[in-house]
């Protein structure tokens, strides 16, 4: 018996897939989502256990290569100084993300016009603003209103801000003396009971799942609502390719279950929400005689322009105890003081600074991010100096698009289903190196002004590829972009990409807030144009 096709098939149940599923289900669409991972029980999160730090380095590691769980696929990252990070489950990487929720800034959408480099986006910050407000409410955001780092808002965050901790307060005082911007961080973490979820308890284990359910992850914030509205979520479903008909329209996707059995899910519209590595991988895997270079790839840009926000860490050590193993890992405070371009610095664009807690005792005892270690009798001095006495500035440098930074299909590496794994080729540009070097020096000044007696620097952290962006960029010109400004593939009119792949430039901020605002905008447009949508007959 033929299966009736879904109105919309979504591939990936993470941040953007969940947003689209919920909105379309609200509008009455028949929605099916295929997710290669499973539901994660929050009672399994290790944050309350004494072995939390041990498990966080393996089964809860942010790198799929380190984790190696059955739901994960390997990524050949041997030709990259930055390892890509992700999580494969219902909720996707929101299960393990920190929860920092800054928006891209207005200038981020006009990089070519303002700085003469890279490209402009076909949409603006102000186009996204109504969707930022809606997604802030849906995810649950805690923030202090009035941040002069951004244009004035007409709507405040739904919850008051989270605490900034002793380290954040110390650095805020320093920035008051320096005359530098700082602001309590906007986090998608509850500061009060909200939407049936509990408030944060400052446990600081956000990156191995939130035991309280206070951090927004879409397994809690979106999927139960989408399913109640009729969406069907299939877990353990690893998509192997998207199929098209003779007219070049998508007809659905084939997928493999955990026993290796192949299935076909027919659909009128296909939405890719598999992150900026998984999405180009699937588009390339879906090559056929009509699309020999991969689906939606007439521009040749599928898998190109990978951006990952090279990350530097500057740690200040203080004499007084700061209890800095506690606090939301999202971020305590941020600074946008040096975010915008000043060409006198010798580079364009900038970086956002975010201050996060510093980790537990095992983290303090092992060699630090900066490579500092002490064994022998000095170990205890090293430990007492580091544990709970640190304030860390994390610096996200804006990564400009470069067509030589790519995701391709590996010729030798396969996932556990036998499907070609992605292989990334990535290097950091000279502009980015100069940018990080400049910001490292300024961050040192910040921490010294705050009273740090010692500074330790990790100039480029390997396991920092949290932000996967750019590999199916949006644009008005089909020859130089993969999807249009409504996230629809130029080449396949019933195929959409809604994850970070569509970013034209990377901005210099954590991107999840912007990714989901763009995804919601795309979903709203799908609803508005539902009767004009071309589908396979």
């Amino acid at each position: 018996m033929a299966v009736e096709p879904a109105d919309v098939l979504i591939i990936g149940a993470g941040a953007s897939g969940a947003v689209v599923a919920k909105r379309l289900a609200e509008a009455g669409f028949k929605v099916v989502c295929l997710e290669q991972g499973d539901w994660v029980n929050k009672n399994d999160y290790p944050g309350t256990r004494p072995d939390w730090e041990l498990r966080a380095r393996k089964e809860w590691a942010t790198s799929p290569n380190v984790r190696g769980l059955p739901a994960d696929y390997p990524v050949d990252d041997s030709d990259s100084p930055v390892a890509p990070l992700m999580y494969n489950a219902v909720g996707g990487s929101t299960i393990i993300f920190a929860g920092a929720w800054p928006r891209a800034l207005p200038s981020d959408f006009r990089v070519k016009s303002l700085d003469g480099i890279a490209d402009d986006w076909p949409i603006s910050y102000f186009d996204l603003l109504p969707y930022f407000y809606k997604t802030d409410r849906d995810f649950g955001v805690s923030a202090l209103p009035g941040n002069p780092g951004y244009p004035p808002d007409t709507e405040d965050a739904p919850m008051p801000p989270l605490p900034i901790g002793a380290a954040g307060l110390k650095v805020a005082r320093a920035h008051a003396k320096l005359g530098w911007h700082w602001w309590p961080e906007m986090n998608s973490i509850n500061s009060i009971p909200y939407d049936g979820r509990r408030p944060c308890v400052q446990r600081s284990t956000c990156q191995s799942g939130c035991n309280e359910g206070a951090k927004a992850s879409t397994d809690a914030t979106h999927w139960p609502k989408a399913i109640a509205l009729g969406a069907r979520l299939v877990t353990g479903a690893r998509v192997s390719r998207i199929l098209t008909n003779d007219a070049g329209l998508a007809t659905g996707a084939t997928w493999l279950d955990s026993d290796g059995n192949e299935h076909f899910e027919p659909a009128k519209v296909v939405v890719l929400a598999a992150n900026a590595i998984g999405t180009p991988r699937l588009l390339l895997l879906s090559a056929n005689s009509r699309f020999p270079d991969g689906l939606a790839n007439s521009s040749g840009l599928v898998g190109k322009r990978l951006m990952m926000h090279p990350f530097a860490n500057v740690a200040g050590l203080f004499e007084e105890p700061l209890m800095s193993w506690q606090g939301q890992f999202g971020d305590l405070i941020e600074s946008l003081e040096f975010y915008e371009t000043d060409e006198k610095r010798g580079f364009v664009r900038g970086a956002r600074w975010g201050m996060a807690p510093t980790g537990g005792p095992i983290n303090a005892a092992l060699p630090s991010r900066a490579g500092e270690q002490a064994w022998g009798p000095d170990h205890h001095v090293h430990f007492k100096t580091h544990f709970g006495h640190g304030a860390n500035w994390g610096l996200f440098g804006e990564d400009l698009p470069d067509e030589t930074n790519t995701v391709v299909l590996s010729k030798s590496l396969r996932d556990s289903s036998g499907i070609a794994a992605p292989e990334i080729h990535y290097h950091m540009s000279e502009n980015t190196r100069r940018m990080l070097d400049f910001h490292i020096e300024r961050a040192k000044e910040s921490l010294i002004e705050a009273g740090a007696f010692k500074i330790e620097v990790d100039r480029l952290m390997r396991y920092s590829g949290w932000h996967l962006l750019g590999t199916a960029r949006m644009g008005d010109d089909r020859e130089s972009s993969v999807v249009d400004k409504w996230n629809r593939a130029h080449d396949v009119p019933n195929l959409y990409v809604v994850d970070g792949s569509v970013f034209v430039t990377s901005s210099g901020v954590n991107p999840t807030s912007t990714i989901v605002a763009i995804a919601l905008r795309a979903a709203e447009h799908m609803v508005e144009t539902r009767f004009e949508q071309q589908v396979a007959s």
């Binding site: 800034l105 004035p152 400052q202 095992i362 170990h379």
Partner: protein
């Protein structure tokens, strides 16, 4: 745990004492990381079993410093596993945690109804005094926002609901 009986357990204790000796009022790791602590670590991290066994193999000799040197030179992954087992066993021990004043990652109530100290100290007002820091794409310059609040009290008054 048979592979960690006898010689390997002795080697583990010797290396643990070398890495974390008794000093500054703290016990040595060799005195803490016993078979029970080792079982705890390997229960959480069974993947460490193989590299740990390799790092503790008898042919690396009895001298812990020489063992660590050889591992650092030729087997950094096995060395990292050995260090993690020792540090993990040591800092998850109840007595050690008491000595360092750590009760695990604690649940601390967020008191969002209290005025944050940074507002009391006027630190936010200092930021607002300087005005916008975002770049206006229409001018390419730092934004100018008419009537931008210069204190948090002003900002709050601007958004407070009208009173009857």
């Amino acid at each position: 745990m048979r592979e960690f009986d006898g010689d390997r357990l002795m080697a583990l204790g010797a290396v643990a004492d070398q890495l974390i000796p008794a000093a500054h009022g703290m016990p040595s790791a060799g005195a803490v990381v016993d078979a029970q602590r080792l079982a705890f670590v390997l229960g959480a991290r069974p993947d460490l079993r193989g590299p740990l066994a390799a790092a503790l193999r008898p042919d690396l000799g009895d001298d812990p410093a020489a063992r660590l040197g050889a591992l650092a030179k030729d087997e950094p992954d096995n060395l990292a596993a050995l260090q993690l087992v020792i540090v993990g066993g040591y800092y998850t021990d109840k007595r050690v945690r008491e000595l360092i004043g750590y009760n695990g990652q604690e649940a601390i109530e967020v008191k969002s109804w209290l005025l944050p100290q940074y507002l009391e100290e006027g630190l936010i007002d200092k930021v607002l005094e300087r005005g916008p820091v975002w770049r206006d794409p229409s001018t390419g310059q730092r934004a100018v926002v008419a009537d931008a609040p210069r204190t948090y009290a002003e900002r709050f008054a601007a958004t407070a609901p009208d009173k009857e």
